[in-house]
């Protein structure tokens, strides 16, 4: 049981927020931490470092836990009924109404208690871990819980940081340390943190003791990747950024020790702030169940009202044997008739309580738990050898939702593709290097109508192949570039690749073995490319990058060149570029910049130069081959100009408000007048099985949208390659800002508007003649306007007409916006799948978030509901598990609905025959155990074992998935049918049972009301259990066992219960009640007749529907699974042919 609750919890805790709002700091002042003086911080009332992640404590457990439980409608109802049943007018013994509620609540509460106990133990363990704190001039061991803000602590290698800390110094001379952040974001690569230069010296207790300073920083928040603050020392202010912050939850690696100052403790640390409870997603079916329960409420009230009103009209003093004129304090003595009506209505509510299935939620929870832990997590089809991981259901709430997905929003890089980047072509100074795909290969890849894995040719491996490098051009390799037309450009180009990055070499090693720690795989590909081209980046110090360069003039001679890194202007998805300002040993200041073409071309000194124009064409060419491109540019900087800029930059860096934004603004100032060197093309291979998977999903009726940050050409190309989201036979609508060149925003907006209107009109005609086969391609800039409030409706309308939509150059926010647009306008189930941090918002925005475990860390996984290792496993996840889960849960719910109405209605009919009074037809205990004992086993059999078609078939016939999309198993019509049948059947059972109560039996004796009730109840139990067998197309031993088990339980219960004599019963009790009816033949006759008569109706309906109006799944069941069982072999072949035909 553990892992699923655990993962559920984790999914709640680890929602990582991406938005960065630094306004708070400005608005609410700042936090002051006086260092090395715990007492001085006392006035601020900072919280201690002990944490408690438990939801409850000993005293709050019951009230709080119960409160949580009573947020469920059914539980509230049962509480209401339980309270009603304590009143004197209750028709049933209160204990029998309280019992099921208590049972259900205690199951849920013990689950909660168990989880909380584990959390508590875990907390206690963490709180009592030891840490070394500076006291006086010695390090003293103390527990984590006693740590306070402002104290100085020492952490040794491999230890975890007990709180958020400011790094003062480390065993490293330059205040450097390495940390691992996998607890925070799951990324296992090491990250560096560097202390401020001024604090390096506080490295021993004697020195640290004298450290005086004050930290002014932001208030506690949950943003993991930002930090704004200043360290004030000796009236000097030094900016602090995330570079100096060590977060709780991370661990120290590869560094002997560090010394730090505690800034945030306990629940104020970022990791704990991130542990806020995010409301969990609920599936649409769950919400529909609520509606169903409201409907049942309605039905209950109507039935009770009918009884109540009729009762008033019925009671009449002429029925002298009731002595209504005498007040006995019960319902019928209530003097005003209206009172009698009200009380009788309430009394009937207690009597009809069985209509609300109290155990429904618990049953569904248990079933879903099984589905996710036993089926999804253990499915061998979704197990990936390379990563040694299977699928992981991080929440079990959404299993059934997986069976109803209609829109998939997919990221491209790392999701559709492997995210194994290989440098394969480049364009330097307007000349293309590297081999492109031959025409043959290309037509193979993109020309075929049915895409398949074999046909998709990845680029052949070249001579010098190395991971990340698949480039071969004799003009550049082995130093040959010196003889090229423009060696200086080549040199700068390679230098840029070798210098402008944030990679970290693993250790001193030779060029063959070196391994880089990188944040994204394309960065590694570029560094590796530079290495292979003669610019070997092999060491990074805190201030410089050391590159082993082959000399420009002398072939073969090698020299280590140290580039002093002055500033790093980091990559971000909004900037789309990264720059490094470095000083060549010669003293020359250079800015190297690499980034997306749009970002670079805007900032070129001359973007109409021949090189720029040629490169622009090359970019298009690369992109059309499905390659990712990056532009490379540089700029020489004037020293004085740099200095004035640097001053601004430092100011921006130490600003306390809007720091990010300011840094961006300042960066803009220097990233201009760039000189274009060329561009690189990186290949990102498609993952195995992606085309087949997408093809299958399309057949299943799912619409697939690709949302990518890549260029339009790349995206369209992947659209071709992966699966024919686009192909030659489909119409392509392109809405792109590029076609308009340099336009103002208003113009673009008009352009988008025109396009949308035009395509919409055009599309209507087109669709009539050609069907729905249009693909819409839109880029980020146009999308921005298309998503605005006045246009988003037409955009939505247009996208609905399209077979597929590809959005390129979109930001993470836009991904989420698109998802949200469809989610709320189409009101269809949406699924987002992605692998990187940029997909997190989209994953959270959709109904279901699926993460592909990839190269880009665990952020997506942390935010997701399901995690898989390969995109292709989506087929199994949706078509097999989602579909089956949907079918099962739907069946369980409708079955619950049916069986409870059936039982309650028999009681209702009886009410009509007993003077509209609330006399029980059944013994109280029969009723209250009906849901939890006598009919619960089949529910689990359906929920866990049922298959309408086998998993194999549901993958072979993706069309079957439409049952979920069209919600065939849980439509209101279907519920209406079940309702009709339960009304009809309850009447039959009631009528047949009551028949036995009239005539004389053996020895002339007559059966009483309780005998008749027992008979009717037995008939209901039999009918309801056997109902399972009808129309169910898959029956395992467990199905039979569950039915048999239910009977056995009922019989055993009956035997025991009727042999207990209780004098406390108000009415004639059921003691000895079993022997009387079973000694009569009538009992057995009716017991055989009622269920058969009842189920014959079901059988007739099911059979008729199945034979003459079959659903798709029924045709396929019949055709594919029992070809020999049918005399018509031809049809079976027909089906196979149909399955194989190309779409």
């Amino acid at each position: 049981m553990d892992s699923i609750w655990e993962s559920k919890e984790r999914s709640l805790k680890r929602r990582i927020r991406l938005d960065r709002s630094s306004e708070e700091l400005g608005q609410q002042g700042y936090r002051r931490v006086i260092c090395n003086d715990p007492q001085a911080n006392a006035p601020f009332n900072y919280r201690g470092n002990s944490i408690s992640t438990t939801k409850y404590n000993l005293f709050t457990f019951l009230p709080k836990g119960l409160f949580e439980q009573f947020r469920r409608v059914a539980n509230v109802y049962f509480l209401f009924v339980a309270i009603l049943s304590l009143a004197p007018f209750s028709a049933v013994q209160s204990v029998t109404n309280i019992f099921p509620l208590v049972l259900v609540l205690s199951i849920s509460l013990s689950k909660e208690a168990f989880e909380d106990w584990r959390r508590f133990k875990n907390d206690r363990k963490i709180n009592s871990s030891f840490v070394e704190v500076l006291e006086g001039d010695t390090w003293v061991q103390t527990t984590w819980s006693k740590l306070v803000v402002g104290s100085i602590v020492k952490i040794k290698s491999k230890e975890y940081f007990p709180a958020d800390m400011l790094l003062l110094s480390s065993s490293n001379d330059e205040g450097l340390c390495y940390i691992e952040t996998s607890n925070l974001d799951g990324e296992s690569n090491l990250k560096t943190r560097r202390a401020l230069e001024n604090t390096w010296k506080y490295a021993t207790p004697y020195e640290a003791r004298n450290f005086r300073g004050e930290i002014h920083c932001e208030h506690p928040n949950d943003l993991l990747y930002t930090f704004t603050g200043n360290l004030v020392m000796d009236e000097e202010t030094f900016p602090i950024s995330t570079e100096q912050i060590l977060l709780r939850g991370c661990s120290l690696q590869n560094t002997s020790w560090i010394i730090g100052i505690v800034t945030f403790t306990g629940h104020e640390t970022k990791v704990m702030m991130n542990a806020l409870n995010v409301p969990s997603k609920r599936s649409r079916l769950d919400k529909k169940i609520d509606i169903l329960i409201y409907f049942l409420f309605g039905m209950l009230f109507v039935m009770s009202m009918i009884g109540g009103i009729s009762c008033v009209l019925f009671i009449n003093p002429q029925l002298w044997y009731l002595e209504l004129q005498i007040d006995t304090g019960d319902i019928f003595s209530a003097s005003p008739k209206a009172m009698v009506g009200v009380l009788m209505t309430l009394s009937l509510i207690t009597l009809y309580n069985t209509i609300i299935p109290v155990s429904l939620y618990v049953s569904i929870e248990i079933i879903k738990f099984f589905q996710s832990t036993q089926f999804i997590n253990k499915d061998l089809n979704m197990y990936h050898e390379e990563t040694n991981m299977g699928a992981q259901a991080r929440t079990s709430n959404l299993n059934d939702e997986l069976g109803q997905v209609e829109y998939i929003f997919s990221d491209k890089t790392g999701t559709l593709t492997q995210n194994v980047m290989e440098f394969c072509m480049c364009s330097i100074g307007g000349i293309i290097y590297g081999s492109s795909l031959s025409d043959d290969q290309r037509s193979d890849t993109y020309g075929m109508r049915i895409p398949s894995e074999q046909l998709h040719v990845n680029r052949p491996k070249c001579e010098f192949y190395e991971k990340g490098f698949n480039f071969c051009d004799q003009r550049l390799m082995g130093g040959a570039w010196r003889n090229e037309e423009n060696p200086e450009v080549c040199k700068e180009f390679f230098r840029c690749l070798a210098v402008c990055h944030s990679a970290l070499p693993d250790e001193e090693s030779t060029s063959k073995e070196i391994n880089y720690q990188v944040s994204s795989p394309d960065e590694a590909a570029l560094v590796v490319a530079a290495k292979n081209l003669g610019f070997f980046f092999h060491r990074r110090t805190t201030t410089s990058v050391i590159v082993r360069e082959s000399h420009v003039q002398g072939l073969g001679s090698i020299q280590d060149v140290e580039y002093k890194i002055l500033n790093v202007l980091e990559f971000s998805s909004s900037r789309k570029r990264q720059s490094v300002i470095c000083a060549h040993p010669s003293g020359q200041l250079i800015l190297y910049c690499k980034g997306a073409d749009t970002a670079i071309y805007q900032r070129l000194e001359d973007n109409k130069s021949p090189i720029a124009v040629a490169t622009w064409n090359h970019l298009r060419k690369f992109a059309s081959e499905g390659l990712r491109t990056l532009c490379v540019a540089y700029r020489f900087l004037d020293f004085s100009m740099y200095q004035s800029w640097n001053a601004m930059f430092q100011e921006a860096r130490s600003s306390l408000t809007d720091r990010e934004q300011r840094i961006h603004q300042v960066a803009e100032l220097i990233e201009e007048q760039l000189i274009l060197l060329g561009c690189v093309a990186i290949e990102d291979k498609l993952q195995d099985g992606v085309p087949t998977c997408i093809h299958t999903l399309l057949q299943a009726g799912i619409k697939i949208w690709v949302l990518t940050g890549d260029k339009m050409e790349t995206a369209i190309n992947v659209g071709y390659a992966a699966c024919g989201l686009i192909d030659a036979n489909r119409r392509q609508l392109v809405i792109s800002s590029d076609t308009k060149g340099d336009s103002t925003e208003v113009e673009i907006k008009d352009w988008v508007k025109q396009n949308l209107v035009f395509y919409l009109e055009d599309g209507k005609e087109h669709r009539i003649t050609n069907g729905n086969n249009t693909t819409l391609v839109i880029d980020g800039k146009c999308l921005e306007y298309a998503l605005e409030s006045d246009l988003h409706e037409s955009f939505f309308e247009l996208s609905c007409q399209c077979f597929s939509v590809i959005c390129c150059r979109v930001t993470p926010l836009q991904k989420a916006q698109v998802t949200t647009l469809i989610r709320y306008n189409a009101r269809k189930v949406t699924l987002s799948i992605g692998d990187g941090a940029n997909d997190v918002s989209m994953i959270q925005a959709a109904h279901i978030g699926v993460a592909v475990r990839g190269q880009e860390g665990m952020q997506a996984v942390m935010a997701s509901d399901f995690a898989i290792s390969q995109f292709r496993f989506l087929t199994d996840l949706l078509l097999v598990h989602g579909r089956l889960s949907y079918v099962r849960i739907s069946k369980v719910v409708t079955y619950f609905f049916y069986k409870n109405i059936l039982l309650t209605l028999t009681q209702f009919w009886f009410t009509l025959f007993c003077g509209y009074s609330s006399t029980n037809f059944y013994d109280d205990w029969y009723q209250s155990l009906y849901n939890v004992l006598f009919t619960s086993l089949p529910v689990f059999a359906i929920g866990i074992f049922d298959q309408d078609v086998s998993p194999k078939i549901s993958k072979q016939c993706p069309q079957l998935y439409k049952t979920g999309i069209e919600n065939l198993y849980f439509r209101w019509q279907l519920l209406g049918r079940w309702l009709f049948f339960s009304i009809f059947q309850s009447f039959i059972i009631f009528y047949f049972s009551i028949l036995t109560g009239f005539s004389g039996k053996r020895l002339g004796k007559i059966l009483g009301q309780w005998d008749v009730g027992t008979l009717a109840f037995s008939s209901v139990v039999i009918a309801v259990n056997f109902r399972l067998l009808i129309g169910n197309s898959f029956l395992t031993l467990w199905h039979f066992a569950s039915i048999l088990g239910s009977f056995v339980v009922w019989i055993i219960f009956l035997i025991f219960y009727t042999s207990i004599y209780s004098i406390w019963d108000f009415e004639e009790n059921v003691y000895g009640q079993l022997l009387v009816p079973i000694s009569t033949l009538d009992f057995w006759f009716i017991l055989c007749l009622s269920p058969v008569a009842v189920l014959a109706a079901d059988l007739a309906f099911e059979g008729f529907q199945r034979i003459f109006m079959p659903y798709d799944y029924q045709i396929i069941q019949d055709e594919e699974l029992s070809p020999t069982g049918r005399n018509d072999q031809q049809l079976s072949k027909g089906l196979r042919a149909w399955l194989l035909q190309p779409s």
Partner: protein
């Protein structure tokens, strides 16, 4: 700056990470390869029954073939039962009193004797069961059903406490009543005496008319009626205070409440055969008030078959169900022939995904 790290005096870069994958086992959960298991792989064996027309027709025919004979048998058994039903609630009131039946029945000074002659139509084999049948009498009304004390019926007045559940017939004149409650209070009190051809008395056996379990386990052998029918309102029959409740079979029968407002209750047995065309004189003591609520009263003499008393409905239910099943089988058979089966892949909707208009 002086080095502070004695082990690595000169290399600042020595603290660069070694191969991080080796030194840091990744803390994320590594799911090992799941073991093959038919349950988790959802490959449990099972049968896949299909509701083919053949199957449905077979099932319905089978049910029909089994049920119709059973039904016919039950019907025959029921028909073999000879039953004389004599409704008397109006006949037994003298003509002059029929204007106000209620006044008549409530007037104790008028004799309620009523003599009727019944003709036996067919041979009636002993035992012949005597029932009384009431109509519009809601024994199953909640107020009525609850008004009893099982404890008192079995153990008597153990602690002299009155039974609240017995309201409104708990006490009479401040003294608890045994047996208390509306059910006992309203005990049926018409009596019948039978004689053949007016002179030969037919003995009515009134023992063993209640279920054994009731007699033995629910009504005390040492509990005697006490203070019963002593109140201002007399409900029904009085009980002999010297006979324990377990032997008061009329009461026991009456207290096994009926499921429907129209019901029969066993009155006794005649243990001699009656021949066709015999005349039976019944002396009815018409005491019980059904007039205030317009209920009927009937006297029923009935033989039994192997299945019990006359109950055509049971047989009919079987026959009707059987016939319906056979009809369904025929309908399925015909429509299977006439209508083409839609079990054809062509009928699978969404044949081509790209032509589906959402």
């Amino acid at each position: 700056m002086a080095s502070r790290n004695p082990t690595n005096p000169n290399h600042a870069s020595s603290s660069q990470p070694a191969n991080s994958r080796e030194t840091n086992p990744q803390p994320r959960i590594l799911l090992r390869k799941p073991k093959y298991n038919r349950f988790t792989q959802q490959e449990l064996p099972g049968c896949r029954p299909f509701l083919t027309p053949q199957w449905i027709i077979t099932i319905f025919m089978l049910v029909g073939v089994i049920f119709i004979p059973i039904g016919v048998g039950a019907l025959l058994a029921s028909r073999s039962v000879v039953e004389i039903v004599h409704r008397y609630e109006t006949e037994c009131i003298p003509e002059i009193h029929r204007i106000n039946k209620l006044a008549y029945i409530q007037n104790d000074s008028i004799s309620k004797d009523c003599s009727k002659v019944l003709k036996v139509q067919k041979h009636m084999k002993a035992p012949i069961y005597i029932y009384y049948q009431l109509d519009h009498f809601y024994q199953n009304h909640r107020r009525y059903v609850k008004s009893r004390s099982n404890e008192q019926l079995l153990y008597g007045l153990r602690d002299n406490s009155t039974k609240s559940s017995c309201g409104p017939e708990t006490n009479s004149n401040g003294v608890p009543i045994v047996p208390c409650g509306l059910i006992a209070w309203s005990l049926f009190n018409d009596t019948y005496k039978f004689s053949l051809f007016e002179d030969i008395e037919l003995h009515v056996n009134k023992t063993n008319i209640a279920w054994k379990s009731d007699r033995e386990h629910k009504f005390g052998k040492k509990v005697y009626p006490f203070n019963f029918q002593n109140g201002s309102l007399i409900g029904g029959a009085k009980l002999d205070p010297s006979v324990p409740l377990s032997d008061q079979e009329d009461l026991i029968v009456w207290m096994r409440i009926s499921a429907l407002p129209t019901f029969r209750k066993l009155y006794g047995r005649i243990e001699v055969d009656l021949e066709a065309d015999d005349y039976i004189t019944v002396e009815i003591q018409n005491n019980y008030n059904t007039y205030s609520f317009g209920g009927k009263k009937s006297l029923v003499l009935s033989t039994t078959s192997w299945l019990g008393g006359k109950n055509d409905t049971l047989g009919k239910a079987y026959v009707v169900t059987g016939i319906l099943c056979i009809l369904l089988a025929v309908v399925f058979f015909l429509s299977h022939i006439i209508m083409p089966s839609r079990f054809d892949p062509k009928n699978i909707s969404g044949h081509k995904y790209d032509t589906v208009d959402q």
